[in-house]
Amino acid sequence: MPQHFVNLPGAATLPTRQYQLAGQIIDDLIAESATGVVHGPAGTGKTYAVQAALERLRDAVPGPAGSQVSVCTLAFPAKPTMRLVADELLTALTGAVPPRSRNRFQLISALTDLLSGPRRLVVIDEAQRLNGDCIELLRHLHDHPHTRFALLYVGGDGCWEVLSREPMLASRVFRRLPFTRLDRPAVPALMRLYHPVYDGVDEALLLEIEDAYGKGMLRNWAVFTHAAVSLCRKAGTDRISAEVAGNVYAKLGGGIR
């Protein structure tokens, strides 16, 4: 399993609908060699969900020849150029840095060739950083009649807004999964599954924590839980209480935000 945020020991994976859909969507993209987008605000668990699905792919029992999928994950710095995207992709696929003497035609021909081989999933993280030229390159590779790979864009704030501005993507997005904040009413039940420190805790307290700190963001809950576990250990208790919660607030910024 992927690492939980802040390496929180004892945390369980929450089987939210979005988490489950992420795996199904990736399977669909691979089956159809299609394009998909997973997006949402930072801290909603999309990266975790995608990584869990990729690990499942990696650890899958080898099936018939041709059923294995190679996964290639890339993330680019702010404002990458098309050339950078091509270079990085080629490096990821071949394991070697392409020579600088290669021109754009040679690079893209080599990429087309490589992506015509075994089935692949190419994951572009932080996709909101891509500009039109970069998306055009990926579109060119994906539309080529010889290539066969699934393309997944994963991005944070503004990702969908950036991508949906490109008409070329609108007709090509086969699956889209927005990650949103947790529904408030569902939080108490989810948190009791999330970590033993919330087991049996009063619903009112959990909702108070949600309103004060969680805000429906799994990352916030991870940070809060990490601090809460530490304080519970010091207090010699295995379950959070209102007093412990208050101390956690103080550690994380002084109370209600």
Binding site: A65, Q68, D113, L114, S116, G117, P118, H146
Partner: protein
Amino acid sequence: MTGPTLREQLRDAGLSTWELGDLLGIHPHLVSDPHPLLTGRPVQVLIEIARRLDIHPADLVPELEPLLSHRRQDLGEDLGGQDGRADALTVLTALATARAPLSADQLARALGWQLPRAAAAIAATQDNPDLGGPLALRRIPPETWTVTPRLDVLTQVQRRALRDTTGAAILDDDQAHVLLAALAAGQKWQGGNYPALRAQPGWAAAEAALKEAGLIYSRSGPDEVHVSDDVRFSLRYTDDDHIARELGEPPLRAPVVIPPAWAGGTGPEARE
């Protein structure tokens, strides 16, 4: 190859269409052929493809199958001490190779063995007649050995026919001349001058060869020859009735057509 097409297997192994096309020396568009021709490819190409696919070479080129079952050649290998059957096989092969019957000590000397081993191998051959396949071990008195064809496989008729068969022969120029003359003027009613042609140098030998091969025959004397039905059928002078009768098939009657003169007429103008 059965199962997934070669193209699918190669693609799954990471070989792109262009790379495969270059490896096979064909246009990538032709790689869509489910069974691209492999038999004409250099050995290195086949090795590379088999390596990439992790498959047996005979799965790529079925013709390799019987060859790959051959034993590896190793001159230093010596199985005889442990395996009487291997020695027996060696003796049979040696006798088939030799030009004349050999005694046990002659065999031993030729094979580099001790005499007891050669004798034991001969005894093992006698005890295992199946080892010889189509050949059987024969004793030629007083104490030599050879191999001859088994007598229990062919019928007497087959043996006789094989003895009479002279082997596939190609018509040489003299024989072609004789056969042409036989077609054009072999029979008296054709009004040709076949007897005069027979006086030409080489005619007699060619005529004899054709008769022995059954292409022509004489009934009423050497100055008249007939062309066999097989030749007449093959040259489109007749249909296949004679063969149908021979095979016991009822022949189908085809309408007989009077042959026209050659379409160009006799003695057409020279083209040049």
